[in-house]
Symmetry: C2
Subunit: 370 residues, 2 copies
């Protein structure tokens, strides 16, 4: 189950493209390694494993592995050391946790497409229809999606167990890994309860951000890298502050793009978050302000969000949200968080090259347009 | 994250009740250990974790941990050795994999109750209704059920990682653990495809049995115990043959009880498997025989299975299935498999006490009435 003779190349620390290539190579090797065990169970299981492989390798920015790898380098990890390929493989396994999160999230959000392809449950729903099988196609698709997501979660652990980490590094990694998984699942639970229960507060939206995105996307990946490098507690604390602040800012930027982003750049329909009725910090800010100053606007927001909005209605809501000052407030939060996060990075004992690289990644994550 | 000062007591090998108590103690300790991390995320996540804890501790025969523990003892594991509590904790973690499998299966099978309680997704559906929240209650229940099952799967790994196994034992265990999880998920995928695609062959039903039940319930738990004890390959091979044969026989007995069992004893409505249209070996045998000898009976079976049958229709189908010789054929398979499995056990190098105990467990699993 090891990566074997085709161990991934060791990317240079500041070359993002090389990290992406190496991560995808490690994932490809892992799936190749699984093929025999899966083939023994027959074509149905092979098809499910292939659907997972396609999902994982089809795209994505490899953000989490890149932060973990850079965290390791920044804590003194040596990309030329014999341990480096095992570290890279462990970092790449984050993409399998992410696959589970996305596949299950797509069921929860009833999303039909992702990155221009049908979501896993939609794909299997269609296969059911094409074969004219018995029973409900939608329920079949959901069932397969649940199991393919489970497979991804189980395989994430298998990939780490087989990465070839030494036992001490594995144990340090495992404690952070455990915390991270509980946090992302907790964040998803908070998210669906927030939507159902209608908690409109800024605090509730920030709490979801904290666990569902910030911890899981930047803070814990950096922490994982630091744990692998056996970093000292001060560096870990600085990484975590940087990761939390930049992670929340990253999600706030995402919230803005979900309402104001250019569909040609984001790849999502314009105003999608408004149609879905997502309870973001942006929306919470808008509602809070409207409640204070403009009850009619508050009413319009509450009755419009989560409905099938026409383009001109989307435009009207956008204008309203901006006029209420919610956009400025969110931009202000992004600036404050980014400044604080970068200050933590600056004062940290991170190596200069990694510091430079993390700064670039932080700026890209918080000021991106897509 | 260790079991700490309240390490579980070390049960004597042949005392099933003591094993159950120790397994439940290890699980209780694990959940207690999680409480602080979960509390930090707030009451929503606490409620989900409590739902999982209730589900896990509410009942169940602890079959998988018992087979794993007995497999370890039978391979020379010493219940008085310092390593024994870690082994017991690792065996107990099988109950968390099982919790994920059952919680997600209940969504897939649209089951409303389990062991006399609402299933997890039904429970949260009802909470949604009680609170008069927005959005669909059923979809909310499914969403929470997916995430609680994911939590169980993630926590199973965490429990093993924190059990305190030495690195070599952990590595041996991990390889079998990985195989087992892929097999049970593969078995579930085969199951839902079998039902949807209408593969009526005995071979398809046996293949589902093999992966979904036999490997996962007896073969791999024994193998896990043997791996922890660093057993030699001959004993592992004998364990696996015993486990596969007895595991399949166990499921065949379950199939018979699902159609002919006494509701007062099984706790399930009479003929439930007929109403659900389960594609068991029993049904496959009946259909195969009817196709050869009685086309009208085959037609009746195909149009009746999976429909909302009245009690007298259940009785008629039972009589028909028995008359076709399907019951005798399944009983014959159970006898052949049990004899072969017990022969593998007899010739194995298992310790005499464990051999006796496994024989008792095998007979109970294959001749039980509930």
């Amino acid at each position: 189950m090891s990566a074997g003779p085709s161990a991934p190349p060791r990317p240079a620390p500041t070359d993002r493209a090389a990290v992406v290539t190496a991560v995808e190579r490690a994932l490809t090797d892992f799936f190749a390694d699984r093929r025999a065990a899966v083939a023994e169970m027959g074509p149905v299981v092979v098809a499910a494993a292939e659907a997972l492989q396609d999902f994982v390798l089809r795209g994505g920015k490899r953000t989490r592995p890149a932060f973990a790898w850079t965290g390791w380098l920044g804590a003194g990890g040596d990309p030329d050391a014999p341990a480096a390929p095992a570290v890279l493989t462990a970092c790449a396994a984050l993409e399998l946790v992410q696959a589970c999160a996305l596949i299950h999230d797509d069921i929860i959000d009833s999303s039909r497409t992702r990155r221009g392809f049908p979501t896993v449950h939609t794909d299997f729903e269609q296969r059911h229809r094409d074969r004219e099988w018995g029973g409900g196609a939608a329920h079949f698709g959901t069932s397969v999606g649940i199991l393919v997501g489970d497979l991804a979660l189980a395989w994430a652990d298998d990939m780490i167990a087989a990465a070839g980490l030494d036992p001490a590094a594995f144990a340090r990694f495992g404690r952070v890994w455990a915390a991270m998984r509980t946090e992302v699942l907790g964040g998803q639970l908070l998210d669906i309860h927030g939507e159902a229960g209608g908690d409109e507060s800024v605090e509730a939206a920030l709490r979801i951000n904290r666990y569902k995105t910030a911890a899981y996307t930047i803070e814990r990946p950096l922490h994982l890298g630091a744990a692998l490098a056996d970093a000292d507690p001060a560096l870990i604390a600085d990484y975590r502050e940087f990761g939390t602040d930049i992670g929340i800012a990253f999600q706030l930027r995402d919230d803005l793009l979900g309402v104001f982003g250019d569909p040609a750049v984001t790849g999502k329909p314009s105003g999608d978050d408004l149609r879905e009725g997502k309870r973001t910090v942006l929306i919470a800010e808008a509602l809070q302000r409207a409640d204070r100053t403009d009850p009619a606007a508050a009413d319009l927001l509450r009755t419009s969000l989560g409905t099938d909005l026409a383009p001109d209605e989307v435009t009207r809501l956008r204008t309203l949200i901006a006029r209420l000052g919610a956009v400025d407030a969110v931009e202000q939060r992004i600036t404050t968080l980014t400044d604080r996060g970068l200050a933590a990075l600056d004062r940290s004992a991170t190596t200069p090259a990694a510091k430079q690289h993390l700064r670039t990644m932080a700026v890209a994550a918080t000021s991106r347009v897509a």
